[in-house]
Amino acid sequence: MKFVPKVSKLTLGDWTTLAQYSIFIFLLILPFQVSKGCGPYHLAFEGYSFMNPNIVNTKATYAPYFLRFNDLYNSPDSLEHIQQDENLQEWNERFCNLYKIEDIKYVIYKATINDMKQLRNASNDKKAKLPKRLKKNNFAHHLRDEKCSEVMEYLIYAKQCERHATVGVGWSTPKRDVIEMQKMIERGKRAFMKTESHYVRLRYAYQIIRLAHYAKAYKAVLKLHDELMPKVHANPSLLDYWIMGHQAGALLKLGDRVEAAYLYSLIFANCSSKRQSAYQSFSIKDNEEWDQLVLKCKSDEERAMLYTIRANHDDSRVIFEMEKIYEFDPTSENLELLLVKEIIKLEKDFLGKDFNDNKKRNKTYFKIPRKNAEKYLDRTLEFVKKCVKEKKVIDLDLWKIAEGYLTFLGGDYGEADQIFTRLKNSIGSENEAMVEQLDAAQLALKIAQYNPPITLKDENEIGNIIRNDPNYWKYKGFPDYINDKLVDMYNKSGEKGKAFRLHHTLDALKMNPDIEMIEDLLRICDKENKSNLEEVLVKKDGLSTIKNDLLLLKGIMFFNDDKIEAAAETFRKIPRNVRDLEPKFNPFHEHIIDCVHCPIADTTMFDRAGIVEELLKLEYQGRAHLESGASSFYKLGNAYYNMTYYGDSWQVTDLFRSGGNWGYVNKDNRYLVYGSELGNIENKKMNQARKYYETALELAKNKELAARACFMLAKCDLNDFYIDPETEYHPYDDLIPVLPEKYNSYYLRFKNEFSDTQFYEEAVDECLFLNAY
């Protein structure tokens, strides 16, 4: 369906579109609400990514290591599981995959030494019972029925070794009983020699060598290795690498660092259960050691692996290592894994670097984009081009996409476009993942290519992307990417309202209204031909727009600028039926103590337009009857006072007030607020109220009224004192402030001139401050 905006009659298509856009806007706004709530805030880089890590061969040997390193290999639990799983898998294979892993697991890891001894007895004596816990265990049945005595003897021995091999966790440090360990080694050696199965021999060798290692008998480790291993002729096993790990550890302790590093590199290359520990133990001190290590390697694949290990450091300059890997082993699958990992890093440096709304934060906290990132990108692109040209790599299409994508990240959109277009024609549709990756890359490029001013056509096009492009929803970076790009373009073309609405709700505007934004949004509301996007931006609910809210805000802004006639006119533009639903106020009465939640009941209430009319009427009355006008001016003072932050009618001039801001009074009167970086402005202006109270005081013939005006002026002084930049008093200190001379004249006057009035008594009773003074 072609997406054409309609003005008058809404069809089913329009409703669908509106619904989709509403979801879109809701989703745009939702993340702010969720992530910036009151819970613990996790500071993380904020950007976009359109490179799908699954584009590489996820079944590649090292894929989980490189692509899921953080969630898989950083967890000690996961490492333990990998080790256990691989061990069980091997046991299972040796028993022809006949038994459930759970059964094998129970026998290997959970059965006690006594269980195993009973099992051994049961295999020798048919009358002997199986231990209760092994009765339903088919693997245990097999060991008994087939009289696998070597395995059972071994398992008893292994379980006895276990207590010597526990690593101290917690507050107690296990004390190694070296003499007992030595005895166990000797016992193990005897059993090893008696055992016929070479696989069981291998397992004995592992236990024996491990014991020697934990006993810190490093020379013995090497001696035992040389003594036992030639006597084992088992098929390749993961235990070869587990044993190698102990051998390498002993070599490292004895100072043969290069040989140790070499063995660790082999373990890293071949044994996933020990890959992480081998990586952590792999250590090279200087260039000489590295050169010796490279010489030790028996093949180019082994040499390439050394560079892969170095590339795996979090902070490594991967491209330097990739160049070396390619030199030794261009068909290494690790090259592709590293390429994707590297592109994802470069995306952080370059994607939306001009318009990412978090760019300052990313720079401050994460130093992204990195210094010299351009140089690094150039080198990466150069390498990728070389790989594409020489065609030695495994997955050439991936390298071609990388070439285009890196060209795009470097800012050469035209060239990137050409590469993508060529690729589009050459990648076979059967390679779905690659086609999808190419589409996502093209979409990112297309969005980057928009320039301000953004036209109706552009907006409709973007609307169609949001609506129809499957990658928009599939790649989580797109909504934010498009949003930030649009905001940047709208800001550049002066469309402040649109820019604001893309990042904020209307409520955010109510906290700190901006006339340019309001005018911009009103202009859109009044537009006859709105684009798809504009429709959504000014849509309130169902069929109505935010126009009335904007008029209300505009009126309030006029009001606060003392343009009350203009305010009244603006309020009157809001339809009567809508105005009737707005709250009503009576700000004209008197409060000795400030109370924002104490509206006077049973009085005439006014809407905002009504208040303006009443203000104008009182002003007229006051001026027309100067001699008796004091009470009119006093009422005007009350009205302006009560419509500030301190009064019960604050909503007349402000649509958002936070009591919490009282604790953070500051000279700019701007407060941090959740939901808008503009902050919240509170109406604390005393000037209008002060003006009318002063007139009332001057004109008052009645001393009681004069006392009232004088007292209210003292309150105006106090409120001004709070926000004076030189004031050190903090409202949350809960102390009665000591007013400097500048702010205490009306208090003194009230005390000196009006202490004989009835109002004075009343005020002293009610007002703690006054009482204290």
Partner: protein, 357 residues
């Protein structure tokens, strides 16, 4: 006779004058000596040992002897949060070999990470305290002082102080003193940060500036930066000892961000101009990728070399002398290491210690 009598009187008077003069002089001398001895501080030279293997080489032992070192603050273990066990646990426990140490006192020093306190509930501080003490005494039974090192924050202050109060209560019956490390800013803002409930504080006069910031001149010690924190010493309620740095490191920057620290790095390690290009007094650019102290550096990396020259140590001592008013002060150098002490002849450190008198 009268004359004779007069002479006698004069003689007596003269003699008395002489005696009076002598008495006054002696009194003045005593007063002077007394006043001198009463203001002279008692300084105890000490060292920190921060490695897991405490087995001193002969050269280290000789060095300590030459400096008349009386105390060694030995890091027994760190306490760090263990995510798997969901509790703070000891790590990097020291292997202690105290052979031939003579009368040097070993002071167990425990570093507690702030996250250990953050993650552990307040009511479990006593349990943590029990575990720490038990661990300390399992490593060494006879202890005269225990020092706790923790860069606590506002959020962990309550827990940390509760833990310290527990230690104090438990060890005071055994006549063991409790000390805690204090950072400079914790003195300036002590009303805000609080004062740890311990017997003495050890002012760590190093790590004064932001090591991560590329613009920092010398994060280990920069007296201009340190001076900004020279407030409130006179009001600080704890007696203070001082820890002075004698270590060096290289701060490695890659892509504009700080990557890591290269410990014990010195200018001579960066002399090979086929790998390093000195760009100013303290900065070096790696011009060819290379290993250095077990780290692989890439072409384009920048190293900021941070060292503590003897003059800076001397100047620090002079500055601190007037700030530390308690009569007994331990001056401890951080930290004992064969490579490091080569660069600080014991005679020079003696001069630094003397500057505190």
């Amino acid at each position: 006779m009268i004359i004779a009598e007069d002479n006698f009187i004069t003689m007596i008077l003269q003699k008395n004058n002489f005696l009076l003069n002598l008495a006054i002089k002696i009194a003045l001398l005593f007063f002077f000596l007394a006043s001198c001895t009463s203001t002279k501080k008692e300084i105890t030279p000490a060292f920190y040992h921060w490695q897991t293997n405490f087995s001193l080489t002969q050269s280290e032992k000789d060095y300590l002897q030459n400096l008349s070192i009386k105390k060694l603050y030995v890091k027994f273990f760190d306490v760090d949060w263990n995510g798997k066990m969901q509790e703070p646990l000891p790590v990097a426990e020291v292997i202690l070999d105290t052979t031939d140490l003579g009368s040097i006192e070993i002071i167990p020093t425990i570093f507690i990470t702030n996250r250990s306190l953050k993650n552990y509930p307040l009511e479990k501080m006593e349990l943590l305290g029990e575990n720490i003490l038990e661990k300390i005494f399992s490593i060494k039974k006879d202890v005269q002082e225990i020092q706790i090192d923790c860069d606590w924050s506002e959020t962990t202050e309550e827990k940390y102080f509760r833990l310290l109060r527990f230690f104090k209560k438990e060890i005071q019956t055994k006549n063991i003193q409790l000390s805690a490390t204090i950072r400079l800013h914790q003195i300036k803002y002590f009303k805000r940060t609080g004062v740890p409930p311990v017997d003495r504080g050890m002012l760590m006069f190093y790590n004064v500036d932001d090591v991560k910031d590329y613009k920092t001149k010398n994060s280990i010690i920069d007296l201009e930066v340190a001076k900004q924190y020279f407030f409130n010493f006179e009001n600080y309620p704890l007696e203070l000892d001082v820890a002075l740095p004698i270590f060096s490191w290289g701060v490695l920057y890659r892509g504009g961000g700080m990557m890591k620290l290269i410990n014990n790095l010195r200018a001579e390690d960066l002399r090979d101009d086929s790998f390093f290009l000195q760009t100013d007094e303290t900065h070096f650019e790696v011009i060819k990728s290379t290993y250095l102290h077990g780290r692989y550096l890439y072409e384009g990396d920048i190293i900021r070399l941070e060292m503590v020259p003897l003059e800076t140590l001397q100047r620090s001592a002079e500055l601190l002398k007037s700030k530390i008013e308690n009569p007994n002060v331990t001056i401890s150098f951080y930290h004992l290491d064969t490579t490091t002490i080569k660069h600080y002849p014991y005679e020079s450190l003696e001069e630094v210690i003397d500057a505190f008198y």
